[in-house]
């Protein structure tokens, strides 16, 4: 009995302690990383989580933090579940996180309205709500380097080039296989627009979330309809299953292009040798030869401070996790420079992200030159329509199939601004930005 | 026992006068996919009497009760209730016509208390609307209290005050049978069907139960049809007896007469057919 009381008492005390804001040491800032190392999307989530936390740990180890300010971080497991995500958000809010990276479109949609009230910037790197790129309407949300619409337009542009110019798209059939959720449905309006403009036909193949591993029907339909290209918007267990099915149905893999989230190494590997030629659009290069990644290997992974298998460093999703952490770190740095404070808060962080500029020189200094294209976020544009490239699976690893090229920004911008306006009207009264962005 | 008991106390609003035929069964046959349960049986039940249905196991007695309260639908024959031929109907309609019953294996609502179980018998007589019941004011509350009073009368009558708030699942078998009777009485039926009301009881409990059945019949004037195996009980309680065997009627009449009937003796002693 006494044991029980004792245990209960200590649990309660611990709880009380954890609900209170953590006693942040003088020279550290706190970031919560919502991750998912469990559940159906863990296959993708684990690598991202590893990349993010390893990079932050490396910055702490190598540089002693950002300008001497250590980054205290911990993970909050969401299991890709919206309920848990909201719980993580509330927890992060209570612990004064600098920034929130939902890593799920569903959770992003949940926290977007809250973020402006709670004054916590949401960094949804190349996912979430595309319209959030409009910084005038969404001052607290950032989705660099590109939105889904940018991604889709880049893929269409690439297909056009394969067909000898955008006119070549006329009369083509493009299949769109997607996770039947907000994530997969978001690109459809733009796809329809482009189809009308360039005269190609779109065939939709929705994959219900429950049936991710059971895609026989979708691929049979694809076989029947014989689309010229298939574009995939998949995540988690959907990707390897789709690639396997494509191989099985003898679909020409060079005509099968995924969004960046359908570009995991394990996704492609699942298809065996048959997956050779599979493509995905990307905003980061693979490989572990970058100095920063070598530092991670030396200071974090080899030092036993991480559970990351050394072999996965340099894989696509791992590097992408690193990019996400890079944005955060550079955001902190920019905020420090702008405010003159060392220990910044979430509002400062928003300022930092809004003025984030990582050019070639900066990348060189960080030790990631060549891994990503230089990026710049502005007050009005929180995404940036940055250049992308197409990568190709050579049977063992990803290789670049194209150079960096810009998405069809002129196609994307109007629909993006319209969506942002719609969002604000349908959620009226949507808070307006107190400091309007300068008109370029 | 006089057939022409003057009804006192609660009286069903039937237009059938005591001594007239309340229910008539005419050449009823029932089968389940080829298996004959009841073959061409006719008999009647007179208002105010205690009618016993007896017979060896498997004679079709319970099936007969099920036919009477509309749970089974006979393939042939007619049932006349209060002078009108009854059409095929749902069991719950029989209840609203004033037929209540108890069951061979106690069929109480195990999750409820004695009080609630008996209150269920009042269900057909309660009419307050959904919203009133949510709020439990006005007609809903008045109704609950008014019917509670009736239920308490029955509880007093059957001497089960002490177990009022006990969940019926915890009661001993004998008391459960009594609660079941109380529940049936709460419906204020015109015809009460009792399916082996004394099965599995010891002598004392049987005596109690017999007393209650007689009291019900005499005080409330309720017509009773009962199935029972204990011949002593049957002979003492009933005004008339119908005997079934293998789904056929083999005798019908006052207890003494039936007792002397050779077919009945054969059936019970198991003479081969």
């Amino acid at each position: 009995m006494r044991m029980k009381t004792l245990l209960a008492g200590s649990v309660l005390m611990g709880l009380a302690a954890s609900f209170a804001a953590p006693a942040v040491a003088e020279d550290s800032v706190y970031i919560q990383l919502p991750t998912y190392r469990t559940g159906p999307y863990a296959g993708s989530g684990i690598h991202i989580a590893n990349g993010m936390s390893d990079y932050l740990a490396m910055i702490n180890e190598r540089d002693g933090g950002v300008n001497g300010v250590k980054i205290a971080f911990d993970e909050c497991e969401t299991g890709y579940d919206t309920q848990k995500g909201v719980e993580c958000y509330e927890q992060a809010k209570a612990k004064n996180t600098l920034v929130f990276n939902p890593w799920s479109t569903g959770i992003t949609l949940q926290v977007i309205p809250k973020s402006s009230v709670d004054k916590i910037p949401v960094l949804s790197m190349a996912y979430g709500l595309s319209a959030a790129a409009d910084g005038n309407t969404f001052p607290w949300v950032f989705n660099p380097p590109d939105t889904y619409w940018d991604g889709l337009s880049a893929i269409i542009k690439y297909i056009g080039e394969q067909e000898g110019g955008m006119e070549g798209l006329k009369g083509k059939k493009i299949g769109y296989i997607f996770l039947d959720a907000g994530y997969g449905r978001e690109p459809i309006p733009l796809l329809d627009n482009l189809a009308q403009k360039y005269g190609f036909e779109v065939l939709q193949y929705p994959v219900p979330g429950k049936e991710m591993q059971n895609q026989a029907s979708q691929w049979l339909s694809i076989r029947r309809d014989r689309p010229d290209y298939v574009v995939m918007w998949g995540w988690g267990a959907m990707n390897p299953t789709a690639i396997k099915e494509a191989v099985k149905n003898r679909f020409d893999m060079s005509k099968f292009i995924g969004v960046w989230w359908a570009g995991g190494d394990e996704d492609a590997r699942a298809g065996g040798t048959g997956a050779k030629g599979y493509k995905s659009v990307s905003f980061n290069n693979v490989g572990a030869d970058y100095p920063a990644l070598q530092d991670i290997k030396k200071l974090v992974v080899d030092a036993g401070k991480s559970h990351t298998p050394a072999s996965t460093i340099g894989e696509n999703l791992y590097n992408r996790g690193v990019v996400n952490a890079l944005y955060m770190v550079e955001g902190i740095r920019t905020a420090q420079e702008m405010t003159g404070k060392k220990v910044i808060n979430a509002e400062d962080m928003r300022l930092g992200l809004e003025n984030l500029k990582i050019d070639e020189a900066r990348l060189e200094a960080i030790g990631l030159k060549g891994m990503i294209a230089p990026i710049e976020i502005t007050c009005a544009n929180h995404s940036g329509h940055h250049p992308l490239f197409i990568q190709e699976w050579d049977g063992e690893k990803w290789t670049s199939a194209t150079d960096w090229f810009s998405p069809l920004t002129e196609e994307v911008t109007p629909i993006l601004m319209q969506a942002s306006k719609d969002y604000a009207t349908s959620n009226a009264p949507w808070p307006t930005r107190d400091d309007a962005c300068p008109a370029n | 026992m006089n057939v022409l008991v003057k009804p006192t106390g609660m009286q069903a609003d039937g237009e059938t006068a005591p001594g007239e035929v309340l229910l008539r069964i005419d050449s009823v046959s029932l089968s389940f996919g080829g298996v004959r349960a009841i073959t061409n049986i006719s008999f009647d039940i007179i208002k105010g009497e205690v009618r016993a249905i007896i017979g060896p196991n498997g004679a079709g007695k319970t099936s007969m009760l099920n036919v009477i309260n509309g749970f089974y639908h006979p393939q042939e024959g007619t049932i006349t209730w209060r002078g009108k031929v009854r059409r095929k109907m749902k069991p719950y309609e029989a209840a609203s016509h004033g037929i209540a019953r108890t069951f061979q294996n106690v069929a109480l609502f195990k999750g409820m208390t004695t009080l609630d179980n008996i209150m269920t018998g009042r269900g057909l007589k309660m009419h307050s609307g959904f919203l009133w019941q949510c709020l439990r004011v006005g007609p809903a509350l008045r109704e609950e209290i008014e019917h509670r009073r009736k239920v308490e009368e029955i509880i007093d009558f059957l001497e089960i005050q002490a177990i009022r708030k006990t969940p019926v699942g915890r009661l001993p078998y004998g008391l459960q049978k009594r609660v079941e009777l109380a529940r049936a009485l709460a419906m204020e039926p015109e015809l009460l069907l009792l399916d082996e009301p004394m099965a599995g009881m010891n002598l004392e409990e049987k005596e109690d139960m017999s007393r209650f059945i007689l009291d019900v019949n005499q005080q409330f004037g309720t017509t009773i049809a009962l199935i029972e195996h204990d011949m002593g009980v049957v002979m003492d309680l009933s005004d008339r007896v119908v005997v079934l065997d293998y789904g056929r009627k083999i005798a019908d009449g006052p207890p003494e007469e039936v007792q002397a009937n050779q077919d009945v003796i054969d059936a019970y002693l198991g003479v081969s057919h």
Partner: protein, 319 residues
């Protein structure tokens, strides 16, 4: 009118137009059906012997597959991993019997159902703690299972592709059903099993050890789960997402009846083929993706006309 044409005529025109494609669709449905049937088979085994509706069968499939692959990843050779995985299923069976079934004997169905859902939660957590949450590739070739495919040409453009692993799945399913039938009908334990299924108390009174029987049944279900895990894992991946697909076994059981082994197989095939054909030829009319509920609706419609299932006897209500 167009609508009617699209529903009533067009799909059949398509079927006749491209018979090779129809064959392929039916074949895919057949293979999916075999896998549904295997999951349902696990349910049936346990339901027959203990009256428990084992919701955890889906997670047992995942758990078995994970153990096999996880052990192999840790450096255990494939054949040894297979044996060890069987061993793990045996241990699991004994544990379930001892810690879940035995203390809950005689409880209402819904309580037992809940207990198996509790087990599902527990096993998901346990599996992830031990083997990690990421999907794993099935070690198909290491286990000596065929991996290639054979294509049959039909007519000018017609093509039917049969995966060898799918053929193997069908054969293995067949062997398992045969084996189980023999086990149930020809062995002493099988007889005891049937006795237990009919009446627990009566079986106890003639000296049958319930505990032993239950452990054996759960073990058998575990083996079926392992086979299912291997087959399904080879088709997609071994991951926890599979657990949800396993819910499809429910409509299968509704069709086939909870206690019938042939019912499970036939139900599985009806559902598997039905939903593929439905999705491909009619799904497009409502935007596709109907596979997520079609199976349940098939089962529901079926139930309305035949509440006792395909092989059940007509229920006579008694009081």
């Amino acid at each position: 009118m167009d609508m009617l044409y699209n529903i009533l005529i067009d799909p059949f025109v398509q079927m006749v137009d491209a018979p090779d494609f129809l064959i392929q669709v039916v074949w895919e449905g057949f293979v999916a059906g075999v896998l549904y049937a295997l999951i349902a088979l696990g349910f049936v085994l346990i339901y027959k012997a203990s009256g428990v509706f084992n919701f955890a069968q889906g997670i047992m499939v995942v758990f078995a597959g994970l153990s096999l692959v996880g052990l192999h990843q840790k450096g255990v050779p494939a054949w040894l991993a297979l044996i060890l995985a069987i061993g793990i299923m045996a241990i699991l069976a004994v544990c379930i019997e001892k810690f879940v079934m035995r203390p809950l004997v005689g409880q209402p169905d819904i309580i037992l159902l809940m207990a198996t859902i509790g087990m599902t939660y527990f096993l998901i957590g346990l599996g992830e703690v031990i083997f990690g949450g990421e999907p794993k590739q099935m070690i198909t070739s290491e286990l000596g299972l065929p991996t290639g495919s054979t294509a049959f040409e039909m007519g000018e453009r017609g093509l039917v592709i049969l995966q060898h692993i799918d053929i193997a799945a069908a054969v293995i399913a067949l062997l398992m059903v045969g084996g189980l039938a023999v086990f149930f009908n020809r062995t002493r334990i099988g007889r005891a099993l049937r006795a237990v299924a009919d009446d627990h108390t009566a079986a106890l009174s003639v000296g049958i050890s319930l505990n032993q029987i239950w452990a054996i049944v759960w073990f058998a279900a575990g083996i079926v789960a392992l086979a299912t895990g291997i087959m399904w894992g080879a088709r997609s991946d071994v991951s926890f997402a599979l657990e949800i697909v396993a819910l499809k076994a429910l409509p299968v059981l509704i069709l086939g009846g909870f206690t019938s082994i042939p019912g499970a197989i036939i139900g599985g095939l009806i559902i598997g083929i039905g939903e593929k054909v439905g999705e491909i030829y009619w799904g497009g009319l409502v935007g596709g993706g109907i596979e997520s509920w079609l199976a349940y609706v098939i089962a529901l419609v079926f139930l309305l006309f035949r509440p006792q299932g395909l092989f059940g006897e007509k229920i006579i209500e008694r009081i």
